[in-house]
């Protein structure tokens, strides 16, 4: 009797084990066909919508180039418009996490949105991959193992021009940026490598359109070089008015985010010859970048900027990581390790992650030029930084 019961118990245990194994296999196998949900957060309304559109289009192009599948799983991209409002972004992102149960959130474009959505996403266990915003706090003390950036740390493009101005021997620089946090960070970034005299550091009201007053002061101050950070409509107006005031021939124009592909169609010839700093330009000479630029223009009829490039790389990053884990998002640690490896061919060539999840990459000074087909783009002029990690990584406790 005891033996029989023992045998029965053993058999039932084995049955349960077999059942569980089947179930686990079933789940594992089923996940192979389960769609991979990725949330895309971007600014798609308002005057800054062109940047958000580039991010959305660049990312969706990457998914399209992968045939709509990553590691055999069909990809579902859920696009949400953060409207450049942090509270709207947070509530919509919560929807992505709780209702759609996304595994990845790709976004945002703007730093204030990043500050708002970082905690909700990383706390929930999903991975946040920023294709543009890279604030200093998340590069340093507040770094998180679930947060990756495919663009740069926000200070870096400004530092490029500071170093360039220093190396070129300019002694007197005039700086202008809008009066908000990013403007202050920009000029601080420029001054990090530039040790010459700062003739004046002007913070124009955010959204100001007529720079006649500032331009008159710049002309009368006669600096050696001008550094400008005026994104969006502000930059369009400044560049046009700068050219109209006849200053373009007299004063070297260095900038960040002021003459990029999102505003060049409005600035046109006024911006030719003006310099900026970035880790990539549409004329970059490697096969994957050339294919991307051609592909993007064929699909969207505009020259891609860094925003689109970084979003495309974000798509490639997710693909590389999931291919390594064979499509499984169950083991977060393995997925995280695969993401950290960044085992994909970036459009900008060399690319790897620092300990804080921000990139280590080369930076160049780029110059605006008109293409043979009449469109405008930035073109690489010279390399300024090689394998440049950001200055905040040392404060990050992650290894």
């Amino acid at each position: 009797m005891m033996k029989q019961r023992g045998a029965m118990k053993q058999w039932s245990i084995r049955a349960v084990q077999a059942g569980l194994a089947l179930l686990a296999f079933g789940i594992g196998g089923a996940q192979a066909q389960e769609p991979l949900k990725i949330g895309l957060v971007s600014v798609l309304s308002g005057p800054q919508a062109t940047l958000g559109q580039q991010v959305r289009d660049g990312f969706q192009l990457a998914i399209k180039d992968l045939g709509g599948k990553i590691a055999g799983r069909p990809v579902e991209v859920i696009v949400i418009d953060d409207e450049l409002k942090p509270d709207v972004a947070v509530s919509k992102v919560r929807g992505l996490l709780e209702k759609d149960k996304v595994d990845f959130v790709v976004g945002p474009v703007f730093s204030n949105i990043l500050q708002a959505i970082h905690k909700p996403v990383t706390d929930s266990g999903a991975f946040l991959i920023s294709p543009n915003a890279g604030t200093s706090n998340f590069a340093g003390k507040a770094c998180h193992e679930n947060f990756f950036v495919t663009s740069y740390q926000n200070d870096q493009p400004h530092e490029v021009l500071g170093k360039y101005a220093q190396d070129k021997g300019y002694k007197r620089a005039y700086l202008i940026a809008p009066n908000y946090q990013a403007g202050k960070d920009s000029l601080a970034g420029f001054k990090r490598h530039f040790t010459g005299e700062i003739v004046d550091e002007v913070y124009a009201p955010l959204g100001q359109l007529d720079y006649a007053s500032e331009l008159a002061k710049i002309a009368s101050a006669k600096p050696d070089v001008l550094f400008v950070f005026l994104p969006g409509g502000m930059g369009i107006n400044f560049v046009k008015q700068f050219r109209q005031a006849g200053l373009a021939d007299k004063l070297p124009f260095l900038s960040a985010f002021t003459v990029d592909e999102s505003v060049l169609p409005a600035q046109q010839d006024a911006a030719i010859g003006f310099r900026s700093g970035m880790s990539w330009a549409p004329n970059m000479n490697n096969p994957q970048s050339k294919a991307f630029v051609q592909n993007y223009e064929a699909n969207f009829n505009v020259v891609p900027g860094s925003y689109a490039m970084q979003a495309y790389d974000a798509g490639q990053l997710i693909n590389a990581a999931l291919t390594a884990t064979k499509g499984s998002t169950a083991d977060k640690a393995a997925l995280r390790a695969a993401l950290k490896k960044a085992d994909f061919v970036s459009l900008r060539g060399k690319f790897k992650f620092n300990t804080n999840g921000y990139p280590i990459q080369d930076f160049y000074v780029v110059k605006v030029a008109k293409r043979a087909d009449g469109k405008f783009q930035t073109e690489i002029e010279e390399k300024v930084f090689s394998d440049y990690g950001d200055t905040y990584a040392a404060e990050c406790p992650l290894k």
Partner: protein, 319 residues
């Protein structure tokens, strides 16, 4: 030696000052063209038209499109103004006419809705990215003002155009019959209709005039300011400040108010930092100056409202 240095510095200061005066005039005259229409509509028709700013925007967009299409500046501008006129008349007939008798709140709500609607519409038709309008070929280049500072010729053109418009408006309002009816309507609208003047036709005329002026201002500003959805909102606020300071219903008031606001705003933004630097350190001066210079015209408006609520040059009969 020292006196020579001082003289050079004085010359630099004078040329910079002259440029800031010109900038202030240019901004002021642009605002005058927008404010003139607004003050007439508000003064004569007692109608609050928040959508006046989008008419400025539509003028800029139509100018961009027409100039690009025809390749010729004057023709493109003329076509754009005709377009602005037609759109203005359409808006008047469809949206505003039913609202004349309604309360100001209803008018505010309706015209605000119009702003949202037209801003979105423009974005849908032209996209979110700003359009580029080149400076017309004859007006390219810059004029050399003392100390090697170049001032764009086109800005002189804007000043000239604004002054001509002001002159034409003054002639029209002071010297013509319709102008007389307009002035009467600004002072005593009820009396005007009691005297048998076709008020409806007058309203349509005023509205058309205001739209064309605003559209013309937009078309003029397009080469130097970016043409994008929502570009009219900022100038609308400034126009309201101007007409409050100048006096509602008075074109003279709009002119004086606009020049005042333009000059004060420009000079404040240029010199506030330097003035404050006399009192505090550079960083603090910069920080305060930014906030203070943006506030200046609103402080001015508050002071005018406090001391002389009817405005500086109120329409006769409203003092």
């Amino acid at each position: 030696m020292r006196s020579a240095q001082a003289m050079v510095r004085c010359e630099i200061f004078m040329s910079l000052f002259a440029i800031q005066i010109l900038n202030g005039l240019q901004l002021g005259l642009l605002m005058f063209m927008v404010a003139a229409g607004l003050t007439l509509v508000f003064g004569v028709m007692d109608f609050i038209n928040l959508a006046h700013g989008v008419q400025y925007m539509i003028g800029a967009y139509l100018a961009a499109v027409m100039i690009a299409m025809t390749g010729h500046y004057v023709l493109g501008l003329a076509l754009a103004l005709i377009g602005v006129l037609l759109i203005g008349l359409l808006l008047e007939h469809v949206v505003f006419r039913p609202l004349y008798q309604r309360s100001h709140l209803d008018q505010v709500l309706a015209t605000f809705g119009l702003i949202l609607f037209l801003n979105q519409g423009v974005k849908m038709v032209f996209g979110a990215s700003p359009l580029s309008v080149p400076v017309p070929a004859w007006f390219e280049g810059a004029v050399l003002l003392g100390d090697g500072i170049l001032y764009p010729l086109y800005r002189f053109v804007i000043i000239a155009a604004g002054l001509i418009m002001a002159l034409l408006l003054w002639l029209g309002v002071e010297k013509t019959r319709i102008g007389m009816q307009l002035r009467a309507g600004a002072s005593h609208p009820d009396m005007l209709s009691a005297l048998g003047v076709d008020v409806r036709k007058l309203f349509m005329l005023i509205f058309a005039l205001g739209s064309v002026l605003a559209g013309f201002a937009g078309a003029l500003a397009a080469p130097i300011l970016s043409v994008e959805p929502g570009m009219g909102d900022q100038i609308l606020i400034l126009a309201f400040v101007v007409i409050v300071i100048g006096g509602i219903g008075s074109i003279r008031g709009a002119f004086a108010g606009a020049l005042l606001v333009g000059l004060i705003d420009t000079l404040a933004r240029s010199y506030m930092v330097d003035v404050l630097r006399l009192f505090t350190g550079a960083a603090a001066a910069r920080g305060i100056a930014n906030g203070l210079s943006s506030m200046f015209i609103y402080i001015l408006m508050a002071v005018v409202l406090f001391l002389r609520p009817q405005g500086l040059f109120p329409a006769r009969g409203r003092s």
